[in-house]
């Protein structure tokens, strides 16, 4: 990812393709007056409706591609479903994930309990559904934290350069050198909190350098573009340059990496919980359930397979989504 080409704000003038540099002079003028492009989708209809008259932005172009990508549609639907049951698990699971009846331990599936029971007699279906909430919550919040912290630090370092940049780069090197699982075992084992915050905090702590590097590289590339130089020449302040001209054009690689990372963060949460240092009961998490069911694999494999399957599908969905977004934002890679 880091090697993204500069994104020209208003690429499309159809047909120009990659040779964009030539059009810079022309497009730059427009850029300066236009509001920064919005999120994907914002201009979808508009853009197509206006096709031919108005050039499509990078974002509307990407959205246009995405809508036609079956991988994106499938992943999107899965994620939509996950988000829905995270917000509202009782929609499809009426039970209480903490209510367990030991007399039914390890029993297989039966009407009303499609996934059977685990070693403690808890309903595997209910726990699997409720487990989505912590996974999605940890994944989304950790990604937000990583993206915000990483792009702010990386962006500033890239923009200003010099000594602060060197210092930050060395700090990221230090964090890169920390093995994630080992770091988790050491740092999280001293924390007794039962909430999701220590896990999120830990992921942000170890995850931001990745984004920071990408944001830094991206900002450095963008800031050399002529339209930035032009704005600077016109007397724009640093904050205006950063916010109006650089950030909107440098953010794409960050979004791509963050989307893919979201899936890995969910897997990381499950890993840490499996090792007993992530979330702790009574939190309901797939990692916890997988860990508890592992010793019973010979007698009650269903208690292990369902949460594992849910975890696998979720991680896959986010990674596929990230892939699709990358393809859309970076057509060069296709």
């Amino acid at each position: 990812m880091p090697e993204q080409p500069p994104y020209e704000p208003e690429r499309a003038i159809a047909g120009t393709g990659m040779g964009g540099q030539m059009d810079l002079a022309a497009s730059e003028a427009t850029t300066l007056e236009q509001p920064p492009p919005g999120g994907p989708g914002e201009s979808g209809h508009e853009a197509s409706a206006a096709s031919g008259e108005r050039p499509r932005s990078l974002w509307s172009d990407a959205w246009h591609d995405l809508r036609r990508n079956p991988v994106f549609i499938i992943a999107g639907l899965v994620i939509l479903f996950l988000v829905l049951i995270s917000v509202w698990p009782s929609l499809i699971a009426s039970g209480n994930p903490l209510k367990c009846d030991l007399s039914r331990a390890q029993e297989g599936s039966r009407p009303g309990h499609p996934f059977g029971f685990d070693g403690q007699g808890c309903d595997v279906y209910t726990r699997t559904v409720y487990g989505a909430r912590t996974s999605v919550l940890v994944g989304v919040l950790a990604t937000l934290g990583v993206a915000v912290l990483g792009s702010v630090l990386g962006g500033l370092a890239g923009f200003f350069g010099g000594v602060p940049d060197s210092i930050l780069s060395r700090i990221t090197d230090v964090f890169f050198a920390i093995p994630v699982v080992l770091g988790g075992l050491v740092l999280l084992s001293v924390i007794t909190s039962n909430t999701v915050w220590p896990v999120i905090g830990f992921i942000v702590l170890l995850g931001w350098p990745q984004i920071s590097r990408i944001a830094r590289g991206s900002v450095i590339t963008v800031k050399q573009n002529d339209y930035v130089q032009a704005a600077r020449a016109l007397g724009a302040s640093s904050s205006r340059l950063l916010l109006r001209h650089i950030a909107p054009n440098a953010v794409a690689p960050v979004i791509v990496v963050a989307t893919i990372a979201l899936g890995t963060y969910i897997a990381l949460e499950a890993t840490l919980s499996f090792l007993g240092v992530g979330l702790k009961p009574p939190s309901v998490s797939w990692g916890i359930d997988i860990s508890a069911a592992a010793p019973y694999i010979r007698n009650a494999p269903h208690a292990l397979l369902w949460p594992s399957g849910a975890l696998a599908i979720t991680v896959l969905a986010f990674i596929m989504l990230g892939d699709a977004v990358r393809d859309a934002l970076d057509p060069k890679l296709r």
Binding site: G121, S189, T192, P281, P282
Partner: protein
């Protein structure tokens, strides 16, 4: 000793049996006398000083490298003379002990009366801060070398111990204690060589004892290698070349290693495998009654557990636990719901009294809820049961106990488990008084007397009174029982003391535990003693 793992240590155990050496004779039926076996283990909490080891993993090793005056029969648990030639008394207060001639430590030094007296003085002295010091509390002069209030000691040696000859010494107790000789098989009473005092650090690195095995080396977190001491003078010589104790932090891993042929013996069969163990191992799985009681102890140093009405909360918690269901489902009936605070291995005459706990140990969810409310509710609205996650399948049963309590109280979050990674760490947190709620307290007896199930655990200042419970009435009854010369009367008095424990629910009894072990087809002659420790010296390899 305490119980730790599944109990606490058992120091004793042994295989000794003077007579009948099951082993021994004739060499015939096979077994490679030089072959080494591997066995599962966990790191001990402390360096292996005999008077400082009160947990089961360290005790296991002491049991192999030391022999004391008495040895507990590996089959019956009865205390039999080992190094003791004679222990004589006329008044249950003054004892004359004669040590057998011909015993030496593995470094060649002779075991004499002085070896015992030095060791006991070391163990009792406040300066040395030994966890089992309390076992010497009945010897005259203990209050001088180990003042109860922690003030400076005014003597270095116990005035009640006198060496009267190379192999004889006398012991004067500060009160009558009729079963004193039976306690002498406990490892706190082991003899120590001069090397222990002369170069203590070197000794700690490589302990030297007088048992059938010698320590070859020890790497914390990995393995302790013990090798047969060829010149061992005792009757219970090792029938194998040695034992490698391998550290496992999860019994499931040990079990998997056993199945894969990487391990010869595990004495901690995980609960999750109990359903399969018969088909996996056939008759290489053993399950025998042991003097182990699993309980939940409470931190009485935390005033929330030591206030008016908190005994109602504890009793309520006890009644919220469905012991029957848990022992059936989680443990596949290899444990029995407890109805008193001792163990069936003591026998009725020894003090086991079925049903002494009464309805407080029965599952009565409605009453439980009521009692807890009357007692002021759970402190902080939630209890955390602290346990160590590396042995004994504790996670499974703690989760089950919590679910049972939650169901009874109709509150999803009334109880949660709080795992601690390793046993040694768990013990450190307990001895550091870091508990804020109930914690797992398995008790593996040190010697088969009802006294051992009560005094170390509930007597004020007792060596394994981890919760620091203190009750004058209980202390008085124990003193009275110890002074009793009629064994039956002593047992009755101990049972009265046990009723005091019940009335305050000082600890919640859960279940009596069996010892269980599985072993590879290389081994024969494997058995567990009543302390649930494998009788290593009788195992044959090959």
């Amino acid at each position: 000793m305490r119980a730790a793992t599944h109990a606490v240590r058992a120091a004793c155990a042994a295989a000794a049996t003077l007579a009948v050496t099951a082993c021994g004779g004739g060499g015939g039926a096979g077994g490679d006398r030089g072959a080494v076996l591997s066995s599962s283990w966990g790191d001990p909490q402390n360096p292996l000083e005999p008077a400082n080891t009160n947990e089961v993993q360290g005790g296991k090793v002491l049991d192999m490298i030391f022999r004391g005056l008495k040895k507990y029969d590996p089959d019956t648990g009865e205390a039999r003379d080992m190094l003791a030639e004679r222990i004589e008394t006329t008044d249950s207060r003054n004892f004359t002990i004669t040590v057998k001639d011909g015993w030496t430590f593995s470094n060649g030094e002779k075991v004499t009366a002085q070896s015992f007296v030095d060791a006991w003085n070391y163990g009792a002295s406040l300066r040395n801060n030994q966890r089992n010091a309390y076992f010497f509390g009945y010897i005259d002069g203990y209050d001088k070398v180990h003042p109860a209030d922690g003030s400076k000691q005014s003597a270095d040696t116990l005035s009640g111990l006198k060496v009267t000859g190379p192999l004889t010494f006398t012991v004067k107790l500060n009160q009558k204690f009729s079963s004193f000789p039976e306690t002498l098989g406990y490892n706190a009473f082991a003899p120590l060589p001069r090397a222990f005092f002369d170069d203590h650090d070197a000794w700690l690195k490589k302990p030297v004892g007088n048992g059938p095995y010698m320590v070859e080396n020890y790497t914390r977190g990995s393995q302790m290698s013990l090798r047969k001491w060829e010149e061992y003078p005792g009757p219970d010589k090792a029938q194998n070349g040695g034992v490698d104790l391998k550290v496992y932090t999860d019994p499931n891993t040990a079990y998997t290693d056993l199945m894969a042929g990487n391990l010869d013996l595990t004495d901690d069969v995980p609960a999750a495998q109990l359903k399969n163990v018969k088909s996996d191992l056939g008759d290489r799985y053993i399950n025998t009654p042991a003097g182990i009681l699993q309980t939940l102890a409470f931190p009485y140093y935390d005033e929330r557990w030591n206030k008016e009405g908190s005994e109602k909360v504890r009793k309520g918690l006890s009644m919220a636990i469905d012991r029957e269901q848990i022992t059936n489902t989680i443990f596949q009936k290899t444990r029995t719901p407890a109805t008193d605070w001792t163990s069936p291995v003591l026998g009725k005459d020894g003090g086991f009294k079925e049903g002494l706990c009464g309805e407080a140990c029965e599952y009565r969810p409605d009453e439980a809820k009521k009692l807890i409310q009357e007692g002021g509710g759970l402190p902080g609205g939630q209890i955390k049961i602290t346990y160590n996650a590396d042995t004994g399948s504790h996670k499974q049963w703690v989760d089950a106990v919590c679910n049972s309590i939650n169901n009874a109280l109709d509150n999803d979050r009334a109880c949660v488990g709080n795992p601690v990674g390793t046993f040694a760490d768990f013990r450190n947190q307990i001895t550091g008084k870091k508990m804020s709620g109930p914690f797992r307290a398995g008790w593996q007896m040190d010697y088969p007397l009802i006294q051992n199930f009560l005094q170390p655990l509930y007597y004020t200042g007792g060596s394994s009174n981890d919760g620091k419970w203190s009750n004058q009435e209980f202390d008085d009854l124990v003193d009275k029982a110890n002074a009793e010369t009629d064994p039956a009367e002593a047992v009755r008095t101990f049972q009265q003391a046990e009723e005091v424990v019940r009335d305050h629910m000082a600890a919640i009894p859960l279940w009596y535990q069996n010892g269980s072990a599985g072993y590879s087809d290389r081994l024969s002659g494997v058995k567990l003693n009543p302390f649930s420790v494998p009788v290593y010296n009788e195992i044959k390899v090959g």
